[in-house]
Subunit: 352 residues, 2 copies
Amino acid sequence: MSNRLPTLALVGATGAVGTVMLDILSRRENVWGEIRLVASARSAGKVLRVRGEDVVVQALAPEVFDGVDVAMFDVPDEVSKEWAPVAAARGAVAVDNSGAFRLDPDVPLVVPEVNADQVRNRPRGIISNPNCTTLSMIVAIGALHREFGATDLVVSSYQAASGAGQEGIDTLRDQMAKVAADRTLGTEAGDVRAAAGELGPFPAPLAYNVVPWAGSLKEDGWASEELKVRNESRKILGLPDLRVSATCVRVPVITTHSLTVHATFSQEVTADAARKILGAADGVEVLDDPAKGEFPTPADVVGTDPTWVGRIRQSLDDPRSLDLFLCGDNLRKGAALNTAQIAEVVAREFTS
Amino acid sequence: MSNRLPTLALVGATGAVGTVMLDILSRRENVWGEIRLVASARSAGKVLRVRGEDVVVQALAPEVFDGVDVAMFDVPDEVSKEWAPVAAARGAVAVDNSGAFRLDPDVPLVVPEVNADQVRNRPRGIISNPNCTTLSMIVAIGALHREFGATDLVVSSYQAASGAGQEGIDTLRDQMAKVAADRTLGTEAGDVRAAAGELGPFPAPLAYNVVPWAGSLKEDGWASEELKVRNESRKILGLPDLRVSATCVRVPVITTHSLTVHATFSQEVTADAARKILGAADGVEVLDDPAKGEFPTPADVVGTDPTWVGRIRQSLDDPRSLDLFLCGDNLRKGAALNTAQIAEVVAREFTS
């Protein structure tokens, strides 16, 4: 153990998640010595602000990782696949926010509130950050699992446009501007489709609509996003046999994923007991008083860090099951924040 | 049995569902003799068009039911509660679209494709039409149940604004007009709430948002709409012990409810077998080829009669379970159409 502040590299500093990361690094307790900002050659030379200082963006190259202790990757899968091992070979611990390594048995998939202990099991020098939809529920589900033992999850998502990146946000805003002016739309098949214009990254119009698809087509009709929720929940909770059914649906919300979860446990669980455990859990906020109109909605939780939980009910036909509604900002805890938290766990190895 | 065309009264002819009913009565095979249009005294004297003819609206009074064979009620619960028995006492069969009688053991709850045989079990002379959310899935679930025997349903809804009436539609359109112009909204907690303006019938803004609430608060945190899905599904399917968990969520769609359903049966069921049964079922359309971008969305099915089903998958962890996505127009099959279909089953008693 040394006792210096570790050096951090942020790869993908100019992207959508990278931008949120600069804000997060500037607001959280400062555990870093030098912070290097890295992006594609196209963005090299740009000046970005982090922790109140101007930093010049460097082009991605093997040498930028020399002397780096932790390298965060907020880049597409194929960039991570190539460059995270390069960073690791140069001695950095790579914390990757892409899908490239999540199911690699030699790469831990970490949510610090749930399985921080996995951070040290990193034979490849790489730690992976889960998908945003999994992250929007797993802190709360993990807290309940610790107490009651999860056996089954049935998940339906209400996913925001920003899950499809800046193009997703722009597409939804453009469509909204087109359909909002016409008060006749939405009553006949195809009229919203005709008016909405470009579909962007979505397979159907998103304004005035919901679209039951996220990701790419996998075997037996499953969407990749649905399999991620299943496989990543199993790995994070350490439950390889957890039964998970997910249906992922995109909704016309800019940012913040919502989910309904029907969770079954190995023992009885009352709503009051669940409320108590969730209320005491790190990273979880309970907002659950429908008599006062209190439950989480994306419009009210966007921009915040916790996983918000409301509508907590014991299932009427199975005392071992709970029905829940959860909201989480898919760009914060769902991406940048969790990556920052993982990196901070690693940073403690250098200073403790 | 007589052999004359029966006389129909439509109570609530000037309302949102009544307006759709006039269209439906004008398009479907004509099984009616006289059609009387009835509404509150305020609307009496108005002239409405049905079956290509002008009809003067009469004020609701006991005498309007004299000589009426079938009286359809598309009015609020309290109006039905008072007036459906009046119509029945005057000799009409009342077909009620409100929530007033749905769980009355002496009133059948009918979806003709599922339990048309129940129409004759009407000791009070009243037949009830299910809630729009139940109706958006039950034709498809009923077809699968007939073949495989349903044991469990986990339902999440994506409910349209028009489920809250014309006020719901107007509120969403007004909010959309306000938020669509501002491209900065949706990234900070509360900014959509501040911009959206009036909440209308919803407990939170609906534009750029989803709201996990529909109906009124019942015991243990359940919303009335969620209990309706459970109780009505049990009654329609004739399964008093069916396990049902529903979470109802409002989404910024004008018309057409969508639902995800995780349905478990008493025997194994493959996606192909389900697709075959649903493809052959009356009132169901299968649209399920994600490789071609084919799945139902509200924007494409609004204004149509069937229940649309897509994303049909056998659950990966239980061969007795299916995961489905369904869409149904909540003003057509979800309200007016099913009422018309029930009335037509009764009409056959007069002509067959």
